[in-house]
Structure formats: C-alpha cells, structure tokens
C-alpha cells in the first residue's frame, strides 16, 4: 500500500478549478517530483494534502487513513510535514526556537511548564539536544541563537526543512526548495534531499519548475498543467513526452493563429 494515495482530487475556488481529478501515489521511501508551468496547481495540491484547503472532491489517504479536509495540525501529527514556496519561518524567534516549536507541536503541558519539575527539565534538555542535532544535520548549528530572519536566503530554506523534520514526519513535501538558488547550491541541495530521505526514512515529494534539477534527483515525475495531470513516469520518459514539451514550450499553431 502506498504511503500517500491521491484519488480524483479536485479543488475549486468559485468558478476556477485549480486542481482537477488528480490521481497520484507516493510509495514508501520514494522521492518524487510534481512539476508543471506556473499556475498548474502544484502548490494547491500541497495545500490540500496538508489541510490548508479542503478538497472539493476526491480522496486523500495517508497510510491508509482518509485525511482530506482535516485541520493542518492534525495532518502534521499524522506524519506529513512541509516547507513553503515563500519561506514562512517564525521570523523574530531564534533559529533554535523555530525548531523547538516544531518539536513540541501540540504535545504541550502548561502545568509542567509552570511547575518545572525534574521530569520537565529532562524533557526540556532532550528537546534542546534534538533541536541542536537537527540544526547540525542541516549545517545550521552556528546560527542557533540568531534571529531566523537574519539568516541568508539559502540557510532560511534549510531552516524550514529542519523545522519540518522536527515534527517527525514520514512524508515530507518540499515546495520549490531550489527556488532562487544558483547551480552549485542546487547541487548541494540535491545531495541533502537524498541524504535526508535515507537518514530519516522519509518519502519526499518536491515541487519545482526546473526540469533538469528534478530529473537528476527524482525517481518519478508527475506533470501538471491547468490543474490536470498530463504525464507521469520516470524522468527520461516524461522529458520526451510531447504533451509535456507542449505545456512548457507551447505549440507552433498557438503562437500563429
């Protein structure tokens, strides 16, 4: 059974259909990409999977359980974490606090925080260590005490990944992790994503525009255009698919009416 199964997923905003009857599945341990031109519905698909929007139609099963329409924090607790296309950090908190906030999620105890017994102190120390450990794995440990919004852009993207990992996901959704990066940074990111998948035993879906980047990294690619799936398969086959070429480059008769 795949980890994530999307069936007939449709999202409408008023008269606009952003995602139409989308089917796709993510196997355990897979590293797959969702690509497509601007406005194809990729981010909308992520938003529905993570509960930001409720699906208008269709089903979303994570680990065999229907999660469509649940609140985002419940979906996160089930094991789905994400990053955002336009980085959303807790800007005025420190880098370490960003990760610690995600470590706790909804497992909070107000009374424990007030009384601060030995068990609380032990737990607090554990959390601190785990947060620092995650920062180290993403090469951010030297920024631990800095304000999140003082980090350089690339580091902010990595911090978002660290924060997503802190919530303990089984499925990680990366929304344009390579946006704004130069080729050498993209290479480094490629290595990082693969390493994280193995180390944290993750399944990863990533969105990108950059076909070459996705081709190097992912085992399977799903291509969206105007909210519909137009191709799916191994990168090489998808790259040669005439529909994909048409979606990205347009056709002759479109330009010369």
């Amino acid at each position: 059974m795949p980890l994530l199964e999307v069936e007939g997923l449709t999202v409408r905003f008023g008269g606009l259909t952003a995602v139409s009857k989308l089917d796709f599945a993510v196997e355990r341990g897979a590293l797959v990409a969702l690509i497509g031109p601007n406005g194809a519905g990729k981010t909308t698909a992520f938003n529905v999977i993570t509960g930001v929007y409720a699906p208008s139609d269709g089903s979303l099963r994570f680990d065999g359980r229907e999660i469509g329409g649940e609140r985002p924090h419940r979906i996160c607790a089930a094991g789905v974490a994400r990053t955002f296309q336009n980085i959303r950090l807790f800007r005025s908190l420190s880098v370490l606090e960003n990760v610690r906030a995600a470590l706790v999620g909804d497992r909070r105890s107000g009374l424990g925080d007030v009384l601060r017994g030995p068990a609380w102190r032990r737990r607090e120390r554990d959390r601190d260590e785990r947060a620092r450990d995650l920062l180290a794995k993403l090469g951010l440990e030297r920024f631990a005490e800095a304000r999140a919004d003082s980090l350089p852009y690339g580091e902010q993207r990595r911090l978002e990944i660290a924060r997503a990992l802190a919530s303990g996901p089984r499925l990680l959704l990366l929304d344009e992790p390579a946006a704004g990066m130069n080729p050498s940074e993209k290479d480094a990111l490629c290595g990082l994503v693969g390493r994280l998948r193995d180390e944290f035993d993750l399944s990863i879906v990533l969105i990108d525009h950059d076909v070459a980047f996705v081709m190097d990294l992912c085992e399977r690619v799903t291509v969206l255009d105007h909210g519909e799936k137009i191709a799916e398969g191994p990168p090489e086959a998808v790259r040669r698919d005439p529909k994909v070429i048409e979606a990205y480059l347009g056709t002759d008769d479109e330009e010369e009416p």
């Binding site: 930001v52 909070r108 304000r147 003082s150």
Partner: protein, 336 residues
C-alpha cells in the same frame, strides 16, 4: 540555587515592606502602590494575548470587572459568614490571610470562564475585528453589571456585609498584594518562556506555519485568552479587596485602553516592559498632580513622545533581565 536565593530575598523584602511602609507612608501613597500592583498584573496578563500570541484584544477591563464584582459579591454574600466563623477559632490576622486567596481565585475563575465564552467565537476573527469584538464585550460587561442591583448597580458596590458589620472584608496588605502579583507574573513568565510556550509566539509569527508544524492554533489562542482573563480577573479581585469599593466607572473602555498602552509602550512581547510601563504610567498622573489642569495634557504629550522615540516600546520584545524571567537562555540574539 540562585533562584531560591532570589525567592528568599523577595519574600524578606515583601514582609519588610508590608511591615514598614504603612508606618512611613501616608495612605495616599499606599493606595498608589497597591494600584500599581493591580496595573502591573493587568498589563502582564494582557501581554500574553497581545504581545506573545499576537491577538489584539482591547477589552481587558471587562475581565477585570468580572473578577472584581464576582470576588466582591462572593466575599460579601458568602465569604463574610465563613470569615466570621474562622475568626472565632483563629487569630484574626491569620484567618484573614487564609481567607484572602479565596475571593481572588473565585474572581479569576469567573473571568477565565468569561474569557472562554468570549474567546471561542472572537478568536476566529483577526486583527481589527478581534479588537472591536473584545471592546464590545468589555462594554457589555460593564453595562450589564451597572444594571444588577445585587451588586449595587450604578451606586457601586461596597465590601461590607450587612449581616456581619464586625467583619472587615478589605485586604490592604501591600505585601500580600505584591506576593500575588509576583506569583502571577512568575506563572505567566514560565508559561511563555518554555518550549511549550513557543506555541504562543509561533502563532504570533505565522499561523499557517504554526499549523503546519502541528500546533493547534485555535486552541493555543483560546488558551492564551483564558489564562490572560484569569489573571485579569485576579487583578480585578485584588483591586476590589484593596479598595473596599468597586464601581463600573473603574472598568470603562478608557481603562482597557490604558492597559493596551502599558503593553504597547512597554514593548509587545516583553513582560518586564509591561511591568515597567504599568508602574511608571500609573504613578505619572499622581507625580504630575502639582501641574493642575495641565496634568493630563503633559501625560498625553509624554505618551506621544515615547511612541515617536521608541515605536517598538521601551524594551521592544526583549526582557530587562533575560536570565531571570526566561529561566534559561535560548532567545534570539543580534544577527550573527
């Protein structure tokens, strides 16, 4: 160890102040000091919602009114009997010290309940809308109380039990008032400056991101609102019992605005800033009293000047003594 030493020093200071101040200061100054205590607690409790959770509530005086009136009514109609009985078997001062926390808890609990009832629908609103909803609530509470004859209506409500004229329900001990304020501030500080407390600040920073890492943002907001209302109710109860008389005029929307000013001027997200601003701004009108009718004009000019010079508030989001209130390091420092 350092914490215990500080605690001990604080206790000694409180007992000493409690014993000495009434001998050296006249009642006018004592009243100002106890009002500063109430203002500090009101400001710190509102800081939890406005400064840490990022929700803009401006009806805080409403929750203080609930706490003040419920605790006063509880004292007059229920407590006086108990206190009279207790005073029969125990020394009077001990009986009063044992009794005093009860109306505070009652006032706090009633305000927390009001906070829950208001918070659940109101916290679905954002920004300006939440501000207007809380403002409306504050006024509704005030006008509702004004029409309840059991608590004196427009005449105000005096803490004197008609059946027990011998029982004094007032509690003016500065030591006790400041002990309650200090304990409440410590509870809020520990709640906010812990890993669990990061949820409040995460909601303030970005609700969508907070949800995405598993934080139930609606619940966090309601929690902040209920805890904040509880301590506002305690502040109201302290006020009622130290003054010995409550009137709805003390809880008008001007009072609510005053508390918002403490929080904003002190610095959103700073407990010590709120404490400082509440103390200074409660004392300022009294200090300026010599200026006669120019007093409030100067007070307003001072506020305007302060906001022009430091729009982020006196302390911004920082604390005066980071290690003390936070209990542990880990807050953000200057950019690396």
């Amino acid at each position: 160890m350092r914490g215990r030493a500080l605690l001990l020093a604080g206790l000694v200071l409180l007992v000493a102040a409690d014993a000495l101040l009434p001998r050296v200061l006249n009642p006018y100054y004592l009243t100002i000091l106890s009002r500063i205590g109430v203002a500090v607690l009101a400001a710190v409790s509102l800081q939890l919602v406005n400064g840490f959770t990022g929700q803009f509530s401006i009806g805080h005086a409403g929750f203080m009114a609930v706490g003040a009136y419920v605790s006063a009514a509880a004292s007059v109609y229920l407590g006086a009997d108990g206190l009279a009985a207790l005073s029969g078997s125990l020394p009077a001062s001990l009986a009063r010290a044992l009794y005093f926390p009860l109306p505070l808890v009652a006032g706090g609990a009633a305000a927390a309940l009001a906070g829950l009832l208001v918070g659940i629908p109101a916290l679905r609103l954002r920004g300006d809308y939440l501000a207007i909803a809380t403002l409306g609530f504050g006024e509704i509470i005030r006008i509702a109380i004004l029409n309840v004859d059991l608590v004196g209506g427009a005449r105000g409500f005096s803490l004197a039990a008609p059946l027990h004229p011998e029982v004094d329900l007032r509690y003016e001990s500065l030591g006790a008032i400041y002990a309650v304020v200090a304990l409440s501030v410590a509870v809020i500080a520990r709640l906010v400056y812990s890993t669990g407390g990061l949820a409040f600040r995460a909601v303030r920073e970005d609700e969508t991101a907070a949800e995405s890492v598993g934080i139930a943002t609606t619940r966090v907001k309601v929690e902040a609102f209920v805890v904040s209302s509880f301590f506002a109710g305690v502040a109201g109860a302290l006020f009622a019992h130290s003054e010995g008389y409550v009137h709805t005029n003390s809880f008008s929307f001007l009072r609510s605005f005053e508390i918002v000013v403490f929080v904003v001027l002190g610095g959103l997200g700073s407990l010590s800033g709120a404490i400082l601003a509440a103390a200074v701004l409660t004392a300022a009108p009294e200090v300026l009293r010599g200026l006669g009718e120019w007093r409030m004009i100067l007070y307003s000019l001072l506020l305007i000047a302060a906001m022009l010079v430091r729009p982020q508030g006196i302390l911004g989001p920082r604390e005066l003594v980071p290690g003390f209130l936070r209990g542990r390091p880990g807050g953000p420092r200057a950019p690396a």
